[in-house]
Structures are given as C-alpha cells and as structure tokens.
C-alpha cells in the first residue's frame, strides 16, 4: 500500500517497496562504476518519493565519502597524488570522492572537518571553502565578513576589469575592457589557485591608508595618488569594434566602400572623411573622435526613378558610412578586411581608447567596499610613512565599522606582511590560525601588529596625531567609468511622433523630468516653472483652433489662408498646447471620437 514512487528527471517511472535498500544499492553501484557517476539519487521518506537525476545543468560538488566514521580518502592516496601516480578522476572512479547535487545533499550528513567526524556522517568536506563558488571564493577571509558584503562582492567581481581573455588582439568584441598590468592578488585563497584566477587576474595590489583626508573621501569616495596613476596604476583600455559589409540588393545593385562624393545624399563635411584611405576605409593608428567616418560607404537609392526638378530620373546614392559613436574617441587599433558567407566585402574596425582613472571612476576592494574617485592627489601632498611609503589609495574609516567587513582589515594586514616577507599569503576562509601568525610576523619585523603606523602630512610635513591603519589590499577597477556616463544637453534631437526630446545618452536625449519631479513642482506651487519644463522646453506647439466647431484648423501656407476643414473660413485662434495633446486629439479622432476645444478669453 505504501509504495515509494520513483521519479527520474521529474518523470514517474515506477514504484518500489523497500526504498532505503534501493537507494543504498544505487549509490553503491555508482561508486563501483556500474552506473554513471553523474547520477544522483535522493529519498524523501516524508513523502515516500525517490528522485533520480542525471540530466545536465545541475550544480554538483565533490565530497569525500565516509564509511563508519572513517573517510575513504587515506594518507596513501594523498601520497600517491603528490607523487603523480593518482589523479582526481581515479579518486572518483574508485569511489573515494563523489559529486552530490542539491537534492542528494538532503540525504547526507556532511562533516566540516576531520575532527568533527562521527559514526553518522556520510561525507566529509574536502575543505570548508569548497562550498564557495568562483566569485565568492575570490574573497580572502570571507568568513570574517558580514554576508551582505560578501554577496555584493560576488556581484562586483564580475564587473571588474582584467585580462578577460588572452587572445584579445585577435578578437573584435563589440565592447571590451582590458586592465593594463593586472597583478595577482597578494592575499590569495585556495579557490584562486583552483580556478586559475592568477592567470587572468582582474585587479592590482594597492597600498591603502585608512584615514579621512580633507573631506574628499566622504561617503565612500576614494583618494588616489596621482603619481601612482601616472605610473600606470589602474589604467585600462577600452575597445569598441565597428563593422559593416557591402550589402547586395535585389536588382543587382550593391553597397560600395568608397570615400563618398559630394553629390551623395546625406554627405557629411569633408572633415569627417579626412582619415579615409582610397578604398574608403580608415588606416590604423589614426586618432578619431565622435562623428569621424571609419568606413566610407554608399548605398543605392531606396526608391528607383527618383525624378528631380528637371523631370529626369536621377540616380543619387545614399551615404551610409560608419562613424565613431557619439561621445567616444580613440585610436584605430586594428582594421580587418574579410568577406561574408555570401562573398560580400566585410570590414571590422577596432578603436582603442586608454582610460586613466579620473574623478567618478568606480573601484572596489574584494569585500564589497566600493567607491568612486573623489580626489586625485599629487604624490607630494599624500601623507607618507616613516619609511617613506606613500599610499596609492586613501579610504575613509567610516566605511568599515557599520559594514563589518573585517575581512578587508585582515587582508590589509596580511598583504602588508606578505609584502615584507616577499611572498604571497594564504587567506582562504575558515583557516583560523592565520591571524596570530601575521601579527607575530609584523612584530618581529618592527611593525605594529595591528597594522597601524605614524603618517606624516604631505603638505606640511607634520606628524599626523593619530596612528593610521595602512596595508596592502587588492583593488578592482569596475567598468563604470565617468567617460561612459558623463552627459548634458541643451538642445538636440526630438522624436518624430511626439516631438518630445529623445531618450538616452546615445541618442543625445533630454534628461527626463519624471512624474515625481513633476509632483515636487506641483507641491511647491511653481506653476510656471512646471509649464516651462513640460511645455516650453519640450513639445510646445501652436495649434490653430476653429472658434466655431473647436477642431484644429488648417494653415494653407501657399495661399496664406487659415480655414477649418468643417466650417470653412471662419475665425480661428492660435492656442498654445503640447504636441502630445494634439496627438491625443488626433488619435481620438481616428477612433471616431470628436474632441472639441471650447475657447474662452484668458482670465
């Protein structure tokens, strides 16, 4: 009566009478290699269900199998692995280590360390830090941080600039950032080793002082040492690739790469084409700014037989060149000529732009401590230590206590001791006895064990009264940079439909005066300021309204006459309305609703 249902990949495939036995047997078979090691099986006694999964897309993690309180991985195995006789895969094949998915974890009792083991345990963690993924695993001493900070850092690691691939010279990514001279972190974790983070690092080791400085690092702002930047700290390149090809149109016509002639429809200024070579394509290493043509291209006219004033068909080609994006500049890095699958000429151009850190660029440590540059200070003005060390970065002490990112503090002391020692420090989380080791080392080398030092004011040379916490931390440059975001507009393009300003920086759009901003002006009773924002600076329109029927009149510009399409030539009056309202009236009319404007003298 109480058979256990068996589901395979979510599908009911059968029932079984003795679930415990069945599950144990399945697991035995997996460990002995009779069944694929990718199979995971779970038994839920509360609902009498067995779930078997072998489909792709499950997150699984390796654990050491424990039998009767004794882990199957023995010293001999480790010995053989170090000698190179045994490989990881052999451990799995021999049923010493197995991968569990999230479901099967529900059936297991996992010991964190070998000292916690008892008879009931089914598995042993290889290391507590294996529960962390790639992003969270990069954080040193993450067990000392508050969880929101670790979550934030796991998100920010993905935004950090670094060596994202090693063949970037041969690629044409639409957008790519590359950090110059990336460094391997001074404080590493075992996950960093396991994921080969050192081969593609995404940050640099900064000498960081924790002190407030003239108020320029309030609210998480950062102060950078200008000389450090000039030496190449946190410098990056931005690559953007443009591409186009000679499209073939039905009827035998096609696009052509060329320097467009003056007769071409939509001809830009001569200046815009100045970099183009004879073939209509720019040469590498030319400096280009927004609006400059990278690939000169003309297309056949959209409609055949366009008749000019003299009545003859005029074959006027259109200008369809590719230009540098609005607001961007750079140096042409590479020009690539090839062909499409159809055999048309294809060109890709990569433009490079060097980005030295500037005000507003975003940086983050590995502990969710992010901030933007608030001041770039000449080295001579930056405080320095007794030994003459000048920090690259000054962060505000208020950033630490309320956020409880103790990991950052530990990383800085660890980084400092590593720099003195000349070797990298292991900051793997849950490695509990490292702190005292670092402290002792610092004391032995004549430093304060807490990482504090006396600093001298760079401007006056006076000793700063308070001891300043200074150390080495790994900082990441994040891909939110001022140059990509800085924007303003006074006049510019409008939308065709509503005559309101376009939206967004890329379209040279207006800055949205939204609903809540509108509410604020209403609340202040600033009626005319509100009208200015919403009408005069947006889609002001002078409508001519028929005084008799209330519909919009027509202005015949050729005869200079104003008439109403319904009432004929009667009195019409100019009325200032928004174009959006005119559009609403038009749309209502298209729905067979007749909106009438009843006019009155202004009070």
């Amino acid at each position: 009566m109480n058979s256990t249902k068996i589901y395979m990949n979510g599908e009911l495939i059968g029932v079984c009478e003795n679930p415990e036995e069945f599950v144990t047997e399945m697991r035995e078979k997996r460990r002995s290699g009779q069944i694929s090691e990718e199979m995971n099986i779970t038994y839920y006694d509360k609902t009498s269900e067995i779930y078997i999964f072998n489909d792709p897309g499950r997150a699984r993690r390796p654990l050491i199998i424990v039998k009767n309180g004794i882990p199957l991985l023995e010293d001999e195995h480790i010995q053989e692995i170090t000698e190179g006789k045994l490989k990881w895969d052999d451990l799995i094949v021999n049923g010493i280590i197995e991968y569990l998915d999230a479901e099967e974890e529900e059936n297991s009792y996992i010991a964190m360390g070998i000292n916690d083991l008892n008879e009931d345990h089914t598995h042993l963690e290889i290391d507590p830090s294996t529960m962390l993924g790639i992003c969270a695993g990069i954080i040193p001493f993450s067990n000392h941080n508050s969880s929101p900070r670790n979550t934030m850092e796991a998100g920010m690691t993905k935004q950090a600039l670094g060596l994202y691939v090693s063949n970037y010279m041969h690629r044409t990514d639409t957008r790519a950032h590359l950090l110059h001279q990336p460094q391997t972190p001074m404080v590493k974790t075992r996950i960093i080793d396991a994921t080969d983070y050192d081969k593609r690092p995404s940050g640099q080791n900064f000498v960081v002082a924790v002190m407030s400085f003239e108020g320029y690092n309030m609210e998480d702002a950062l102060i950078l040492n200008k000389s450090s930047l000039e030496r190449g700290l946190a410098r990056s390149s931005f690559f953007r690739s443009y591409e186009t090809f000679e499209r073939k149109y039905p009827g035998g016509q096609e696009d052509k790469f060329e320097v467009p002639g003056k007769g071409v429809r939509g001809y830009r200024s001569e200046n815009a084409y100045r970099h183009l070579d004879e073939d209509g394509i720019i040469n590498s290493e030319s400096y280009v700014e927004s609006g400059d043509v990278l690939i000169g291209k003309t297309s056949p006219p959209r409609f055949l037989e366009e008749i000019d004033e003299f009545g003859s068909a005029n074959e006027k080609r259109r200008e369809t060149s590719v230009t540098v994006r609005n607001g961007e500049k750079g140096i042409v890095d590479a020009v690539l000529l090839t062909e499409t699958v159809e055999g048309s000429k294809l060109t890709k151009i990569r433009v490079r732009d060097t980005r030295q850190p500037e005000f507003g660029d975003k940086f983050a440590s590995r502990h969710g401590q992010k901030g933007v540059v608030g001041l770039i200070l000449s080295q001579e003005d930056v405080p320095f230590t007794e030994n003459g060390v000048v920090p690259d970065l000054i962060v505000n002490p208020h950033a630490i206590p309320s956020r409880m990112s103790v990991g950052q503090v530990l990383e800085m002391v660890a980084g400092k001791s590593g720099c003195i020692k000349g070797e990298r420090v292991d900051g793997t989380p849950f490695n509990l006895d490292i702190e005292s080791e670092i402290r002792n080392f610092l004391t032995d080398n004549g430093f304060e064990p807490n990482g504090c030092e006396s600093l001298y004011n760079g401007m006056t040379g006076e000793r700063i009264e308070a001891e300043i916490f200074i150390g080495v931390a790994y900082y990441q440059k994040l891909h939110h940079m001022t140059t990509d975001k800085m924007y303003a507009r006074s006049r510019g393009p409008v939308q065709v439909l509503t005559k309101q300003p376009t939206e967004g920086r890329a379209r040279e759009g207006g800055l949205r005066f939204g609903e809540m901003e509108r509410d604020c002006l209403i609340a202040h009773g600033a009626a005319l300021a509100l009208k200015e924002r919403l009408l005069d600076e947006s889609d002001k329109y002078e409508a001519i309204v028929c005084g008799k029927c209330g519909m919009l009149s027509v202005h015949d510009k050729i005869r200079n006459k104003i008439y109403c399409p319904i009432c004929g030539e009667v009195d019409s009056f100019p009325v200032e309305i928004s174009y959006a309202f005119k559009l609403l009236l038009d749309e209502l009319k298209s729905l067979c609703v007749f909106p009438k404007l009843i006019l009155e003298d202004k009070a």
Binding site: R518, D519, C520, I522, A523, H524, G525, A526, A527, L528, L530, K531, L534, L535, K540, E576, I577, S578, A580, F581, L584, L588, V593, F594, I598, K602, A603
Partner: protein
C-alpha cells in the same frame, strides 16, 4: 481645565469678540491659562491676543497651496521606508495583527474584508475591575466548537455507523456552557439524524431515508464528523479567539471582529470599545467615526514603524476618503476614479474606458484641475498659477 477662572475666560472671549478674531475654542482657554499664570494686565492680555492672532493667521495654509500633493508625499515617502514585515507581535502578545506597509495599503484601499480584524473590548464602570465578569464575557464572545469541549476525541463506530460525542463536564463548566443547550443546538442543526443521550455521551447517527437508499456510506460518516467537530456552540459570529488582559482595567482583545454584536452585550463600555475594521465602524457608528478610525489606524501603523507623519496630512487623506458620506478608497474605484475631469481619470487608469464613456455621454472637461492643465500645457491653477488679472469695472 476646571481650574481656570471663568472670569478671565470671559474677559478673553470679550477681547476676541471685540477684535473680530475667529479662534478655535481651545485657544481661548490656553490664553486664559497663560494670563493667570503670568499675571498679565489687561493691556498685556490684549497684546498677547493680537500676537496669537498673527501667529495663528500665519500658520494657516494659504490659498493656492498644494496640500493634496504635499499630503501624498508626506505619507508616501515614509511608506517607501517601511519594512515589508507583515506580521508583528505588537500590543497584545500572541495576537497577530497586520502592520506596516500591507496594513497602510489596506487602510487607504478601504478594504471591506481586512486580513486581521481585531477588537479591543472595554467594560463599563461597574465591571471595569471584575475579573469574573471579564472571563464570562470572553467565553460568551469567543468561538467555541464541539471540538473545544470534547472529553477525548470523537469516536466513530463504522460498524454501527454512528458517532459518539463525549462532552467533558469540566470543560463546559469552565466555559460557562450548559450541556442541554449544546444538545438542543446540535439537534436543531442536524435535523436528519437520530440522537441518543446517555449522561454526557451523545450518539449521533444519520437517519435512513430515501436519499440514503444505498445505505449510509463511510463518506457520510466522515462528513458528519467534520460537521460536528466544527459546530459552533457558543460565541459571537466572526470572532474566533479572545484574549483577556489587564492593563489598568480588564480588556478583551479578539481575533476577528463584530462590533455590532459586541456593542449589544451587557456591561460593555460602548464608547471605548473599538475595532480596527474601518468598514465595520462605518456601518455601525457612521461616517465621522470611520474618519476618526482611518486617522487613528493610519497614524498608529506609521508610528509603529517609527515614522512620524503630521496628523494633518493623515486627516486630509481621511477627509478625502469620507467626504461624500461613504468610505471611498484612494484609487481606481474611489477618489481617482470618480474625479469630474475626463482627462484626469483617463490619465490615471483605464484610459480607454474613460475616454469611450466620456465620448458616448458627450462629457465636457472644464479643465479646472491640475492634471488636465498639465496635459494641455497650461499653467496649473495652484500656487503661482492660481492668480490672475481682473479688469476694474468702471
């Protein structure tokens, strides 16, 4: 304020009348009190009254002030800071009351059914400190089902196809109930069943009739058991649990609310007894009481979250909701949906519906509101836009 000299009060009233000032009554008393405390001369008193008048005039809202928008912002901004913490043990232990943003939304939406209705029942002068009376009333109000007074559990006899109900004498005594009354209530409810009574044991079996020609099914018995188990033998409708507490006097807190029934009961303080169900207050006590309830509940909800909003903003919200004599919600079905302007309604929600209906009826929009004037691009009739020029008629 009994200790204020009536003579001084009259003096103040006289000056106020002479100066033709329109003061709230409480001001007169306050001024009189100050006059006595500071031993003011008549001349000084007059100066004081004139100064108070000036300050009073100055603190009044000027015409053309966007009080609605300011009120909306003043309630809305703290609303964004509210934690979504729905259930909170506040006021009474072990009683769950919805608080925070969900409760605030519930209030302004003028919901007819709220998620956690609750009452606070006070007793009149005679029974304020009468513990026995409080307990008696509590057991009268609280919902008691057969399940609550069972000795053990219901016994189902599938052989005899009947159900044995053994009532615990202790439990019914504790709850001030009567055994015969329970039986008669049960009999009235289950008419097509036979009853056998033996001491405190009731045996109930379905009667065999045309409907049950296939014999009585096990399912029937099971349904019967459920019916008996949840049969309410005592209590006020819609009230489930009652918690007795003593603060300064005895108070009953309930889970569920039925103001009308409770107010009819003996020994209840009809002025202090209240509920958090605004719609119930409206139907039982009327619109003014509903307005006060909205203010009280909204302020309490905000206050509980540590947010302070000036009472006048909340009062304005309550006034808007109750202005036409019924409790209207703020939204599509209430205030925003019943505006006179077509454009204002269409701009809010259900644009198509409003434009269509307006065109069928041939509605005229007088363009007197804010939203309409923003749409057509005119200065809004508020603040600097509320003034105009008028020609002098000679």
């Amino acid at each position: 304020m009994g200790n204020i000299d009536q003579e001084v009060v009259n003096k103040v009233i006289k000056i106020v009348k002479k100066k033709k000032i329109d003061f709230p009554e409480s001001y007169v008393n306050d001024i009189a009190e100050a006059c006595i405390r500071r031993e003011l001369t008549d001349k000084e008193l007059e100066t004081l009254i004139v100064r108070v008048k000036k300050a009073y005039e100055r603190s009044k809202v000027e015409s053309g002030e966007a009080i609605g928008t300011v009120a909306a912002q003043s309630v809305g901004e703290p609303g964004t800071q509210m934690t979504m913490n729905t259930f909170h043990y506040a006021g009474v232990v072990e009683l769950n009351v919805t608080l925070g943003l969900p409760r605030l939304i519930e209030i302004v939406d003028a919901r007819k059914t709220i998620s956690t209705p609750t009452m606070a029942i006070y007793f009149d002068e005679d029974h304020k400190f009468d513990e026995e009376f409080a307990k008696k009333t509590a057991s009268k109000i609280a919902k008691i089902t057969i399940n609550n007074v069972l000795d053990d559990d219901l016994h189902i006899d599938y052989g005899q196809m009947n159900v044995e109900v053994i009532i615990s004498q202790e439990k019914i005594k504790e709850k001030h109930l009567d055994f015969d009354e329970i039986v008669s209530k049960l009999e009235a409810k289950l008419k097509k069943h036979t009853f056998e009574i033996e001491d405190n044991k009731i045996t109930i079996a379905p009667k065999v009739d045309k409907r049950t020609k296939n014999g009585i099914q096990i399912r029937d018995i099971r349904l019967l058991v459920d019916k008996i188990r949840h049969f309410q033998i005592s209590g006020v409708k819609d009230v489930n649990r009652v918690i007795i507490r003593k603060d300064e006097q005895w108070v009953l807190h309930t889970e569920g609310s039925n103001l009308k029934a409770v107010l009819k009961m003996e020994g209840i303080d009809k002025e202090k007894t209240t509920t958090n169900h605004i719609h119930e207050i409206y139907t039982v006590l009327g619109i003014e009481a509903a307005r006060n309830a909205i203010i009280k509940e909204a302020l309490h909800t905000l206050d509980e979250q540590g947010l302070s909003v000036d009472i006048r903003h909340v009062m304005l919200v309550a006034d808007m909701m109750t202005a036409d004599g019924s409790v209207k919600s703020i939204g599509r079905h209430g205030i925003s949906g019943t505006k006179s302007s077509v454009l204002a309604r269409a701009a809010f929600e259900e644009t198509g519906k409003h434009l269509l209906n307006a065109s069928i009826r041939g509605e005229v929009d007088e363009l007197t509101g804010i939203i309409e004037n923003i749409i057509i691009g005119q200065p809004i009739p508020l603040g600097t836009g509320s003034v105009g020029i008028k020609m002098k008629n000679n």
